[in-house]
Symmetry: D2
Subunit: 89 residues, 4 copies
């Protein structure tokens, strides 16, 4: 994992943002402000996902490809499926 | 807000999922499993956003439209901007 | 419709881009270049959709809301569903 | 390219859908129907993109990875960037 400390820090912040969203709803804050905050959390999650995928391809997939054999094709197919889930979510 | 208790419950779960993601990274779990979990959290957030937007349009925007005047157009424009942020995030 | 000529021009360009994609595949151009072009067409379509939705809310939905009654709620619900489809696509 | 004839057929259909959208706007058809059609075209394009990416990773990226050296890392980085553009579009 490229920068573990960085990811942990980002997830900590995302957890705090989720807690903040809970409070905004509890306090019945203005809908549009809650939506703006949800867009921010979604973007933060997406950015973590793209970083992880990048790391995964640069290390795990590359290593499997170089080792060759069926494992290489499997890793590629697995990464492709994860990408499709990200694009569709 | 349509179903405040429902939203609070969903946000509680999302907060737990974010905490779970933090732990997955801490334990250096398999990248693809983390990505799958991120897709799930993103979908959950998106679904909350669509619910809130639905409520907002059915109540706040509708009321403003019926009251008429500039406020009506403003509410519509504000909702449109929130939608654009959601579509682009 | 806010700016019909503008929309027609944009759709003409999108049609040309789709034809260009067909040619890129026919000529077996480099995959990454085709993907970049697909991202551009998707963004162009999304931008047309957001413009149309904006117009729709500012005119059709607003008028229905001001006329009141069941039609108002129906128009809001219909717009919400269209938004959910856009967010999920 | 995995299934060139299949991709060409799908792009032909997407081009026809874009032409259909142009006509819908020309005839000032109902906004919500146009939006539904735009969602369909966007999904069709996304699906072509995911198929091409899948092919690209299973062939081009895999081959580069197996050949090793800098080209392998470059291909991975290039694919990652294309994925990021798709996820964000």
């Amino acid at each position: 994992m490229g920068n573990k400390e960085g990811y942990l820090r980002r997830l900590k912040r995302i957890e705090g943002q989720a807690r903040g969203l809970h409070r905004m709803i509890e306090e019945e804050q203005y809908c549009i402000d809650i939506l703006t905050q949800i867009s921010a959390v979604t973007k933060a999650l997406q950015s973590v996902a793209l970083g992880l995928l990048d790391d995964h391809m640069a290390h795990c997939v590359l290593a499997a490809a170089q080792a060759g054999g069926e494992a290489a094709e499997e890793k590629m197919a697995e990464a492709s499926e994860a990408i499709a889930r990200l694009v569709r979510s």
